[in-house]
Symmetry: C2
Subunit: 219 residues, 2 copies
């Protein structure tokens, strides 16, 4: 069976936002700053190129004890032995993917409202990426942000962990955790930062403290 990863600081590598730094360099620095999970997202590469990048990230994350998730490409996730695959609306349909995913591999699914979230849970999602929580410049097609209220209703309407995504940074990460999220997924506020490790460290500190407070309240 799968073990649920620490999703508290979930960094998505995006080469186009990384100021010329490659996936491996971004991931190394993000992990040095406290990332607990790395997702490889790359839409502009051949399968062979993607495999090579994913193998490097798999080596790094295994060495550092950090979870490694591949966006969209189940073939790549399977080929490199990633800990998980993350699927959105443009990716493999969940029932088809679920049949191919080995029991030890986690399945992340994007959801934008409670209905999508519950459906994904019923179809075997291990965790949800929920957003966009705030306004974001990263995804042009992300639409209106769902806001903290909808995030709260989703976090409390499903039994699997939720990671907030979209426009999250050190200034608003606490609110995301207070809404019930198990972690925050970040892209530009970490990978586009001049100092990736420092940017990750700052937000990791906020998330850690917010999770500790949430746990205390929960006791």
């Amino acid at each position: 069976m799968q073990s649920m990863p620490d999703l508290s600081l979930y960094v998505i590598t995006d080469r186009l936002l990384s100021r010329g730094r490659n996936h491996l360099e971004v991931a190394e620095k993000a992990i040095a700053g406290g990332a607990t999970c790395i997702q490889l997202r790359e839409k502009d590469a051949t399968t062979r190129e993607l495999f090579v990048i994913a193998e490097e990230l798999r080596g790094l994350t295994r060495e550092k004890g950090v979870f490694f998730i591949v966006n969209d490409r189940l073939d790549i996730a399977l080929a490199v032995g990633a800990d998980g695959v993350h699927l959105g609306q443009d990716d493999l349909p969940l029932p088809a993917a679920r049949r191919l995913i080995p029991p030890e591999m986690i399945l992340g699914v994007s959801a934008g409202d409670l209905q999508e979230a519950r459906k994904a849970q019923s179809l075997g999602a291990s965790y949800l990426g929920v957003g966009a929580v705030f306004m974001t410049g990263t995804k042009a097609d992300a639409g209106e942000p769902i806001g903290l209220k909808t995030l709260f209703s989703i976090c409390h309407g499903v039994s699997i962990p939720v990671v907030g995504i979209g426009g999250i940074n050190a200034a608003n990460a606490r609110q995301v955790i207070e809404a019930g999220a198990a972690g925050v997924a970040v892209i530009s506020c970490v990978v586009a930062a001049p100092e990736i490790a420092s940017a990750a460290r700052e937000i990791a500190g906020v998330v850690k403290q917010a999770l500790a407070s949430a746990r205390q309240k929960g006791d």
Copy 2:
């Protein structure tokens, strides 16, 4: 275990060459004209779009008793239960792919010389796509054609079936079979033809006759 498909007329669907006709329409007409195997090649689609197209082609080919192979994308091949996956130099490395391919699925591999062909065979290829045999306008990066002599040496230097590819049409298909190929892979001469079924029928007739002659000589 896998059963080796009839690869004698192997039609690769290429949307960009198909004069506005979609993969399904091209495949239907090619099969009506005698295609024995359909390969889906599509580089410009989301995974979800590719899955939908592949499911349609899987339905059609199953109904018609024609083999169905997916280019590059093992995730799609697995998700729709294709008969095989075809891998080139830009796709998953063979050892990684071989581990993920179920025993009933065939693995096609591109090879351009005898060394590549033997290596692919030793790494578990079920058949080889060998070429470009002749000059072709379809693949800008295909380089100088290997010619019939090299094709002959490969066909007689491996123990798995070889399909010739690259610039093959009704006028030269006989030579490809006479060099020892089990079939011909065609793109533009079928999918770009005004009448796809007629074009397929013409080349299917040539291949059938050439294979019958080759078998007689072999007796």
